[in-house]
């Protein structure tokens, strides 16, 4: 029983990270029908951005004090992630807005590979795993049979809070309305006075900001990062977005928690053990896409795009 609860806890923490990334995937797909393969890399870059701040910007005395270091690292990570995402949108995706489907997909793959390699080549020592400081209370919290680190709890809390904030923003603010309009019908939205380019950039920015936060917090939780965390977590996040219903924010978050649980519980209890945990996720992905492509909360129409 203890193991079951522990794996559930692990799954939820993983789900929190993935949820933040999945939100970015689902928003971008909702607006421009593009699977931004490189979004996982945005997450990774955010983590490295935070690490860069810690290593080279923060003076020694501040490094120990997490309440100063963490916000600064978050700021750095978000900044780097947003910049990369905006550049990506502007130079790689925007020119291909009207090209056949294959073009932006391949471009996204190219951006993903290029970003991974760029970090590996130019971030010092990044060809092996980098230690990442735990910029939070370094405590294990005992909740009965479950042990969870404070950083893990932080991830969960931040993830839920940010998702709620995002949902509120999209459903209630003017810009949010513009986003929803653009995702439904870009040309009509333009007729209604919405500038689709700006809306799209904003979508990328929001997604990247969330991913950047996720990156820094993830690094702090796991205490090491390398240039491949983007690809793996990206696949999970994309599966989560699809499972939840692409285009639905709520779906992305719920899907993410489900995926996290599948990974940990599947690895624990299904045959094959932890080596096959990825396989179960992919099986889920295939089943969802084939039998219920709209996911849990999506619209059927969206799929035809």
């Amino acid at each position: 029983m203890g193991t079951l609860l522990q794996q559930i806890a692990n799954g939820i923490v993983l789900g929190a990270t993935i949820g933040l990334i999945a939100l970015g995937y689902t928003m971008v797909y909702g607006i421009i029908q593009l699977i931004n393969f490189a979004h996982g890399e945005v997450f990774m870059v955010g983590a490295f951005g935070g690490l860069a701040i810690y290593r080279w910007v923060l003076p020694e005395s501040w490094q120990e004090q997490w309440y100063i270091a963490l916000p600064l690292m978050l700021l750095g990570g978000v900044l780097v992630a947003v910049v990369i995402a905006v550049l990506m949108e502007r130079f790689a995706y925007r020119p291909l807005r009207n090209a056949p489907r294959l073009a932006p997909l391949i471009t996204a793959l190219g951006v993903s590979v290029a970003l991974q390699e760029a970090i590996r080549l130019w971030f010092p020592d990044a060809d092996a795993a980098q230690p990442f400081p735990r910029v939070f209370i370094d405590k294990q919290i005992d909740l009965g049979p479950i042990e969870i680190s404070a950083s893990g709890l932080l991830l969960i809390v931040v993830s839920i809070v940010l998702s709620i904030l995002l949902q509120a923003y999209v459903s209630q603010s003017r810009m949010g309305r513009a986003m929803r309009a653009t995702s439904q019908d870009r040309d009509t939205a333009r007729l209604m006075g919405v500038n689709p380019d700006r809306v799209i950039v904003l979508t990328f920015v929001l997604g990247a900001a969330l991913a950047g936060v996720a990156g820094v917090l993830y690094g702090s939780y796991i205490t090491n990062v390398d240039n491949s965390i983007g690809f793996q977590n990206g696949i999970f996040a994309f599966t989560a977005a699809v499972l939840g219903g692409i285009g639905s924010l709520r779906g992305a978050v719920i899907g993410a928690f489900i995926i996290g649980l599948i990974k940990t519980l599947g690895g624990q209890y299904l045959p094959g053990g932890t080596q096959y945990d990825y396989v179960w996720i992919f099986v889920v992905l295939i089943l969802v896409l084939v039998f219920r492509p709209q996911g849990l909360f999506g619209d059927v129409e969206r799929v035809r795009a």
């Binding site: 294959l102 073009a103 471009t107 290029a114 390699e117 080596q275 992919f282």
Partner: protein, 596 residues
Amino acid sequence: MTKLTGFLPPALARPFAALGGVLFLIGAMLPWATFLLNDGPYPDKATLQFFDAPLELTGYRWNLLLFGVFALIATFAPTPAKARVLRAFGWGGLVISAITAIFIVGKGGGLGAITSADGNVAFGSIVGIIGGIVLILGAGAMPLDDVPHWSTKVFGLDGWAGRLAAWAVLLVAFAAMLYLVSLTLTAGGIGGAAFPYAGPIFLAFLGFAGGLLGALHGLGITGWIARLSELHRAFSIVVLLLCALALPFTDAGSQYWMQVAATIGVYAATAIGLNIVVGLAGLLDLGYVAFLGIGAFVAANLSGAVASTVGWNLPFPLAALISAAVAGIFGAIVGSPTLRVRGDYLAIVTLAFGEIFYRTAQNDIGNLTGGASAIPGIPPISMFGTAFNESVTLLGTELPIGVLYYFLIVLVVAAVMAVFANLKNSRIGRAWIAIREDEDAARAMGIATGRAKILAFLVGATLAGLAGAIFVHKLGTASYDSFKFLESVTLLAAVILGGMGTIPGAVLGASLLFVLPEKLREFEDYRLLVFGLALIFIMRFRPQGLVPDRVRRAEFAGETAEGKSIEEIQEQAVLEQEAELEREHEAPATAKETGR
């Protein structure tokens, strides 16, 4: 194609072009480096003295000299499409000079390496660069004629004489191509410690080859040969096949290049299979390398390798057939659930299948894949009593080790190409193309899209399985490591880069993606980065690839299949309508006059 904006008035065109040519000549004969580089002397006597013995020039300096001479001839002799030819030479020479200059500067530690230092003077590369720019500017100021259209009736002959003449031309053309390919492969040498400058020499050679081809294209010769070969298709195919088989007899016939060529062949065969799925049927497959892997592991298990759990040892042709069949079955299995899935989602589903294969292979599922220990020690193919990893003597020449694999691969690729061509022009091929263009319309037209899509996957997977069987025997080991997601992306990139839906496209793409990393091993570290950036740039600037399918090119460029711009057609239609209206206006007037 838009004209180059001429900075120069037309009157200056010819002097500039002549000046460019002369600068090339001078540049070729000047020294190029001021001192012996620390890693060893830069090839082709880069520090040759001023104006010494032009006929002793070799390599890239000889190429530049040739360009200079050709440019002068083209400027003053009556040449069709002068501007295009000169422009090609200009760019070629510029590339040669620039790459060499950059490299010497890099290795020499500063600009002094190509200008002057310690009393030595070397402006060769700079003169070359300036010459190239001047030539391009000069060419830009000339009127850009259309590419000349040569008649397919060679020498105006008809009937059998004409046919023989055409065949003679094709023979010469393909032999020249073979020579060029062998030169390209061997340019710069094999690299490594013995040839430290292999990379830049190769790139400079590419500049030369590119310039030459550009000039030939401008003269209309390449188009002419293409049309001739289409007219005499059977002959062309035979000659091409013979040329491919003749490669081991040329300079490029070393064990190293045979191995590279054989690997290219395997990937080319796989790419053609992928071309069926992606290029013809328009089904995005991101997990394709899994089929290569399935074929590989089946063949490995049937090869009698000690490490395989299935202890059978079947003769190679049988094992290959079984591998292909099993891969095909898996192709159908992957294809069936994807019937309801379109576009991006299909890509993701296939990616998921590919990853499932990779991870199950990694975990040694059913003891069939050897997991981390892989299945080593796969014996080489042995047919007709010879093991394929031995050296063979044919026609009096001793051919390098691995040449038998190469021959086998060439034949297999030829067979796969034939299959592809036949499929493309058959009913099922047209059904695939229809599905690619608009699936709903295709279904409305009565095409059984479900079956067609499964068939596409099946055929593609079968070809990949066959390639996998050969691959694994050549490599001698079957490891899950060879079938990562990155390989799928590379295969897809090869198909796209070469041009989707065309046969030569897939082969060209596979060749580029495998020859370039081998040739440019100095830049190993940046390989993946360049690959990612290349994907971005190709999709941005030339998504239809190098050898585009006519329909595809049209689709990407806003043109009809005949190459006319859709905008132009629309404009023309409007103009015609206006002309019609005018005529109608006038007709009543004339009618009045004639009293009708």
